[in-house]
C-alpha cells in the first residue's frame, strides 16, 4: 500500500541536509506551511538556500529561521513585508545573500524545473538589472532574457486536502506557489488541513497529483490568521 502520510514532524523532516535548497510555499500568510517551517527550525539543517516569495515577517517562521543564522541565501521577489526587520538587519550586515527574481519568473523557474525545462526565455526584465549577466536574444523582433530553472532539494507545501497517495487540493488563494514548488523539488513535504480517504477527492479536481508529493503530515491548524 502506498502511504505517504507521516505520523510526526520528525518523520516529515527526516533527511533534510545542511546546504539544501528549500522551496517554501505561500503568499502572505495564505498557503504558507507554518508548521513545517517550525519543523525545519526544530530539525536543525543549516546553510540553507530558501526560495519563497517573501523574506519573512516579524520573528516567526522564515524570519526566525534566518534569525537563527540557518539561511545562507534567500531567493525571492519581495523581501519587504510589514515587518522585515530580521531579513533587513542580516542583509545590511552582509550575513545573508539575496537573489531578487521577478515574481512570475520565480514561479516559472520552478514550474520549468518540475517540467524538465532547464532554460526558457521571457520578456520580463529585458533592459533592467534583472538581465545583467544573462543571455539576451532577439526572437522574432522582440528581446527576451534566458532564465534557468530553479529546482529544489526540498519543498514545504501547505494544502487544504490530501490523501495517502499524496493527491492535493488547495483552497482559494492558498494555492499560489505551492503547486509549482511541489513539482520542482526532489523531496516534497506537505502539511494538509484535511486528510481524505483515497478516492474521496474528485479525480477531475486534484490540483497537485500525488506523483509530485513524498510526505503528508496532517496539520489541522485552522485559518491562516490563526498562526
Amino acid at each position: 500500500m502506498i502511504d505517504k502520510t507521516v505520523r510526526s514532524m520528525a518523520e516529515a523532516m527526516e533527511g533534510i541536509k545542511d546546504g539544501a535548497t528549500v522551496l517554501v510555499g505561500g503568499f502572505g500568510a495564505v498557503g504558507q506551511p507554518n508548521a513545517l517551517i517550525d519543523g525545519l527550525i526544530e530539525q536543525g539543517a543549516k546553510d540553507l538556500v530558501i526560495a519563497a516569495n517573501n523574506a519573512g515577517v516579524g520573528h516567526v517562521g522564515l524570519a526566525r529561521l534566518m534569525e537563527l543564522g540557518r539561511v545562507r541565501k534567500i531567493i525571492c521577489s519581495f523581501p519587504r513585508s510589514s515587518d522585515p526587520v530580521v531579513f533587513e538587519t542580516l542583509y545590511r550586515a552582509g550575513k545573508i545573500e539575496l537573489e531578487i527574481v521577478p515574481q512570475g519568473t520565480l514561479a516559472e523557474r520552478m514550474h520549468a524545473a518540475g517540467a524538465g525545462i532547464p532554460l526558457f526565455f521571457t520578456a520580463t526584465g529585458v533592459g533592467t538589472k534583472m538581465a545583467l549577466g544573462k543571455e539576451v536574444r532577439d526572437i522574432d523582433g522582440r528581446q527576451y532574457v534566458g532564465e534557468k530553472s530553479l529546482p529544489g532539494d526540498v519543498a514545504l507545501v501547505e494544502a487544504w486536502e490530501a490523501d495517502r497517495w499524496g493527491n492535493l487540493t488547495y483552497r482559494e488563494s492558498g494555492r499560489n506557489f505551492n503547486p509549482v514548488m511541489a513539482m520542482a523539488a526532489k523531496l516534497t513535504i506537505v502539511q494538509a488541513q484535511h486528510l481524505r480517504d483515497l478516492g474521496a477527492i474528485d479525480p477531475d479536481h486534484v490540483h497537485t497529483p500525488g506523483i509530485f508529493v513524498n510526505r503528508v503530515l496532517h496539520v489541522p491548524y485552522g485559518d491562516p490568521t490563526g498562526f
Partner: protein, 222 residues
C-alpha cells in the same frame, strides 16, 4: 503642491484620478491593478460594467473588499488585503497566473511609478542602484506582459521634482512599456514623438503642466 499654481486649477485628488482611469476601462477587459494608488480604480467601476480584475497570486475576478464580519481568510490579493470573488471568478496557481500576464492575456495593467520616460520606460521598484533590499514583486512581469500598461501617479514628487522625464534615472522596471500616464495634473499618451497631453485636470493649462515636467510635452492633434 500644485493646487496653488493657477488660481482656477483643480488638480485631481487620488479619488478623482482613480475615477478618471476607471472611466477609460471598457466592459469585458481583464485588468490588473498594481499595489498602492491603482488599487482604488476598482471602486470606480460600477458592478454592472463587468471588468475582470486579476491579482498576481492566482485570483481572477476579484470583487470589492469584504465587510469586516464577512472576511474569508484564504482570499487575499497581491497587496495581501482581504478581497472577495465575484460570480465567474476563479483561482489558479502562480505559474498559471503569470502565464496570463506574460502571455499577453491582460488587456490592461495599471501601475504606480517613480518615473516614466518619454520613451515609455518605467521605473517603479527601486530609487537607487544601491537599494539595500530592492523588492520587485510582479511589477516587471506586469509591465512587460500586459497588452497595455498605464501608469497612475502624482505628476511630481513632494518636493516638486518632475516624474515624467526624458530618461529614467532610477533602475528600470521595463523598457518602452508605458502607453498612458494619469497624473493629478493631466492624462498623457506615450507616443513615438513623446508625451502627448490628451486631457487636463479642471482649470489646468498646458504650460503649467509643461513647467512641472522634465520631458517635452505635445498637445494631441497639434
Amino acid at each position: 503642491m500644485s493646487a496653488t499654481a493657477t488660481t482656477a486649477a483643480k488638480p485631481y485628488t487620488r479619488t478623482e484620478m482613480a475615477a478618471r482611469v476607471a472611466r477609460d476601462i471598457p466592459e469585458g477587459w481583464y485588468v490588473n491593478l498594481g499595489i498602492g494608488i491603482p488599487t482604488a480604480v476598482a471602486d470606480h467601476v460600477p458592478m454592472e460594467r463587468e471588468v475582470v480584475f486579476h491579482s498576481e497570486n492566482g485570483v481572477l475576478g476579484m470583487g470589492p473588499a469584504p465587510a469586516k464580519d464577512a472576511i474569508d481568510p484564504w482570499l487575499i490579493n497581491a497587496g495581501k488585503q482581504y478581497v472577495t470573488l465575484r460570480a465567474g471568478g476563479s483561482f489558479c496557481h502562480h505559474a498559471d497566473s503569470f502565464a496570463m500576464i506574460r502571455g499577453g492575456h491582460l488587456d490592461l495593467c495599471v501601475l504606480g511609478a517613480f518615473q516614466v520616460a518619454e520613451s515609455g520606460d518605467i521605473a517603479n521598484w527601486a530609487t537607487s542602484e544601491n537599494d539595500t533590499a530592492p523588492a520587485v514583486g510582479g511589477a516587471m512581469d506586469l509591465a512587460a506582459g500586459a497588452k497595455r500598461l498605464w501608469v497612475m501617479m502624482e505628476h511630481t514628487t513632494k518636493d516638486g521634482t518632475p516624474k515624467l522625464v526624458r530618461r529614467c534615472s532610477y533602475p528600470l522596471t521595463a523598457v518602452g512599456a508605458v502607453k498612458r500616464v494619469y497624473t493629478n495634473l493631466a492624462v498623457l499618451d506615450v507616443t513615438p514623438r513623446g508625451f502627448e497631453v490628451i486631457d487636463l485636470a479642471p482649470g489646468m493649462d498646458f504650460d503649467t503642466v509643461q513647467a512641472r515636467t522634465e520631458a517635452k510635452l505635445f498637445l494631441t492633434r497639434q
